[in-house]
């Protein structure tokens, strides 16, 4: 398969997944704020911090008001990671590989883009609580259409790889939102407010019901363990890494548990470390520090995929 084509399918999926996750972590924050007691200061700045694009936000908007941040993350056409920009990039990538992907995939990403574009033209921030669920659903639809209409060959695996790595990274960031928001004073831990916040967090990852089935009580440790180490829940980081690794090995042809390329090694190593980690160890080290390091390691995997498959130079 052409490197450019593989690269486009990979990014098509990353961008769709990214748009979905931006919708998710803005949504969790909206929900958290709704539950906050009146008078409590609204915390929006942490959202920008989790994207890692604070400098750009400062330069373009200055004040970290709710309105500015919502605009920045959803409809700002000049900010490359806003929902609208993600969809534009996803569509461009899809358009350049239309003869490789199924026409149903193209149609879905195209109507997804048109839906977001229309919302952006209207630009009503008060309608966002309807908009975010629509974005999530459109993204699920895309993933489902791809699953059901594209042959599960090399190109499909590149798409999976893109989607799962992106999701692992963004689940880590969603967890981080909680870290920034809480800055818990000791007295808050375990309070009803704290509990509500963890529930909102689970809901934002569509994880609330699945979590309940696994263990009744909602505890900080339980939630973080579920979202990081669970092997069966499709938005947990470890699930994403396991499935991403499976696709990577289908592409490279290397048996699982061994490595030949840099990507095999970087991803395999990360996945196996998580296999043997406990949540106690993570907490001991510091959740934020752990998530930060995880994101760096995921970037490293991405860089390896780029040099192993996409950036081929003739000898």
């Amino acid at each position: 398969m052409l490197s450019r084509v593989a690269d486009s399918i990979y990014w098509l999926n990353r961008y769709v997944e990214r748009a979905e996750n931006v919708a998710r972590f803005v949504d969790v924050n909206l929900n958290l704020l709704l539950d906050a007691p009146p008078g409590m200061e609204q915390q929006w700045e942490p959202l920008v911090r989790t994207t890692g694009d604070q400098a750009m936000f400062k330069a373009r908007y200055g004040e970290a008001s709710a309105e500015n941040i919502l605009k920045f993350l959803t409809f700002d056409r000049d900010y490359p990671n806003s929902i609208i920009s993600c969809l534009r990039s996803a569509r461009e990538n899809a358009r350049s590989v239309r003869e490789v992907i199924s026409s149903e995939m193209w149609e879905q990403v195209n109507s997804f883009y048109l839906m977001v574009n229309e919302a952006a033209d209207v630009g009503l921030l008060s309608e966002l609580h309807n908009f975010f669920p629509e974005v999530k659903m459109a993204s699920h639809l895309f993933a489902g259409v791809m699953e059901a209409t594209m042959a599960h060959t090399e190109g499909w695996h590149f798409g999976q790889l893109g989607r799962l790595l992106e999701r692992a990274d963004k689940t880590a960031r969603i967890l981080d939102v909680k870290y920034y928001i809480l800055l818990p004073s000791v007295t808050d831990v375990g309070s009803p407010l704290d509990d509500l916040q963890w529930i909102a967090l689970l809901k934002s990852a569509s994880a609330y019901e699945m979590y309940r089935k696994r263990q009744y009580r909602i505890t900080p440790q339980g939630v973080t363990e579920f979202l990081i180490l669970n092997r069966e829940f499709p938005r947990s980081i470890q699930f994403c890494l396991i499935e991403a690794e499976r696709s990577l090995h289908c592409i490279s042809g290397t048996p699982t548990g061994t490595w030949r390329t840099g990507s095999d090694r970087a991803l395999g190593r990360l996945r196996s470390e998580l296999d043997y980690l406990t949540i106690e160890e993570i907490t001991e080290r510091g959740l934020h520090e752990f998530l930060d390091d995880l994101q760096n390691r995921l970037n490293e995997v991405g860089a390896n995929i780029f040099s192993d498959f996409f950036a081929l130079e003739p000898v």
Binding site: L2, A6, S96, E99, V100, E107, L312, P314
Partner: protein, 493 residues
């Protein structure tokens, strides 16, 4: 009864002899359409347009970076070519393509036709499409122009003429295929009752034409379509043809010359490309051999090509035959290489480089069409009768300054086909571009793209200038016992 009010007027109409009197091949179509209400027909028209948009049969508009795709307007009333007439056209096109191919091979090799003075040497050597680096090239089977889209027009008296040859990268064939697909849904009963020549094997024929270029010893040759990229106006077609043939769609940045071969960058390393259907002009294809500023091509490709390690369709250098001054000599080529008379005539052409003819052109600018010899697609031309005094003065100056650069032709009154505009039929001018493939034999796809000028009275049919398209039906016979629905019914029959 929609056609009752349609007046073909003082034009050659492709469907009607006179008002209320359809041509025999169009009779059934006219009956069928007359059985529909206006609303029904409009719905069918809308449904066809929607289907094309959904299929993604679009062209790109450069200046607009938000929603860059537009649909090429489509009209549901087809143009009909009677079978016997088509046989004659097919014969004429085969003759022409064969002769022009001989000519291209000759001018890049022995140059017999130039040495014999049949075509003046300076005409060829001054043509911008004549590429010195191609001298001595021997493409497989000596075939240069594998894919051609010849533009034909019909004058007021119904005479067919060849307007242009388009030997470089003619586009539009994807519309032929997709228009037909949509039309089968629009008028299924007519397709059942009439023997309309099928067009669907174009992609298979194209693939065979390309595979014909690799030596038989090569097992599993790799075929690729080279596109300038998704911002090109014909990108849909490049992508469509690659998909229909199962070929790889590549851009210049996917390709590299390595170990003396053309290779593409894949996730498993570099892989050889054996045949390439290139949709990039000669000038841009290799920055080392031609335009150094080109980012679209592949540095070093020319060397690989010259060594015979990759086949290109069309061959490099075919653009020489697109020059409008060279075009004027096609009758002589046919006589020279085939010892035959030209079947489909050229449009009478005045050569501005000849002093006498130039004087005539300058005296009659208000009646002639002047064309730059190196332009195409409706650019660089003056339609005398529709031009202002100023424009004509401007072209006079240009012709005097560069006589080699211009030819002139009489303004043809193009034939018309009824076209649904708003709530009625209007006669709109059309041309016809059949697609011809030269592989083992010469194959002419039956029909071709009928382009229609949708602006009232306009003679310009190009998509960039407000043109649309119609399906073209080559009708071989009609079932005399055909039963058609009398009433219109829903959107589909």
């Amino acid at each position: 009864m929609l056609f009752d009010a349609y007046d073909p007027g003082d034009f050659f109409d492709e469907l009607f002899l006179t008002q209320g009197q359809p041509r025999p091949e169009a009779d059934l179509l006219v009956k069928r359409v007359n059985a529909l209400s206006l609303v029904d027909l409009q719905q069918r028209q809308q449904a066809a347009q929607n289907a094309l948009f959904k299929l993604g049969v679009t062209f790109n508009v450069y200046s607009d970076n938000q929603g860059t795709e537009r649909i090429f307007p489509f009209d549901v009333i087809p143009r009909i070519v009677p079978g016997h007439e088509w046989e004659w056209i097919e014969k004429g096109l085969k003759q022409r393509i064969y002769a022009i191919n001989c000519f291209i091979h000759d001018v890049y090799n022995e140059q017999k036709i130039l040495n014999d003075g049949v075509v003046p040497r300076h005409v060829v050597e001054s043509a911008p499409g004549f590429l010195k680096p191609c001298m001595g090239l021997n493409p497989p089977n000596n075939i240069w122009c594998h894919i051609t889209g010849t533009d034909l027009v019909r004058d007021k008296d119904g005479t067919w003429y060849v307007l242009e040859d388009n030997m470089r990268c003619p586009s539009g064939v994807s519309y032929v295929l997709e228009n037909r697909r949509v039309m089968k849904n629009t008028f299924p009963h007519l397709f059942a009752a009439m023997d309309i020549a099928a067009v669907d094997d174009y992609a298979s024929q194209l693939l065979e034409t390309l595979l014909n270029l690799v030596p038989e010893t090569l097992i599993n040759p790799r075929v690729a379509v080279l596109t300038p990229g998704m911002y090109n106006s014909a990108y849909f077609e490049h992508s469509f043809l690659a998909q229909q043939m199962g070929a790889e769609l590549v851009e210049g940045r996917d390709l590299v010359v390595s170990d003396g071969y053309l290779k593409m960058r894949t996730t498993k390393g570099l892989e050889r490309v054996d045949v390439m259907y290139r949709r990039i002009d000669d000038d841009f294809i290799d920055p080392k051999a031609f335009r150094p500023d080109s980012l679209l091509g592949v540095p070093g490709l020319m060397e690989v090509y010259r060594a015979g390690r990759v086949a290109l369709a069309n061959a490099l250098g075919t653009g020489v035959a697109d020059d409008k001054l060279v075009y004027a000599y096609v009758p002589q080529m046919i006589r020279y290489y085939l010892d035959e008379d030209q079947i489909i005539p050229n449009v009478p052409t005045y050569l501005c480089e000849d002093a006498t003819q130039q004087a005539h052109v300058l005296d009659n600018l208000d009646q002639l069409v002047v064309k730059a010899t190196d332009a195409s697609g409706g650019y660089g031309m003056l339609v005398g009768p529709h031009a202002s005094e100023e424009q004509r003065a401007d072209f006079s100056d240009r012709i005097r300054a560069n006589p080699r650069g211009y030819i002139a032709q009489p303004t043809l009154c193009l034939s018309r086909v009824p076209t649904l505009i708003g709530d009625r039929f209007e006669g709109c001018h059309v041309d016809l571009r059949p697609y011809i493939l030269y592989g083992q034999d010469i194959y002419v796809n039956p029909g071709g793209l009928t382009r229609v000028a949708l602006k009232r009275g306009s003679l310009v049919v190009n998509s960039s200038q407000g043109g649309g398209s119609k399906d073209t039906w080559v009708v071989r016979s009609i079932d005399p016992n055909a039963q058609l629905p009398i009433q219109g019914g829903g959107v589909k029959e």
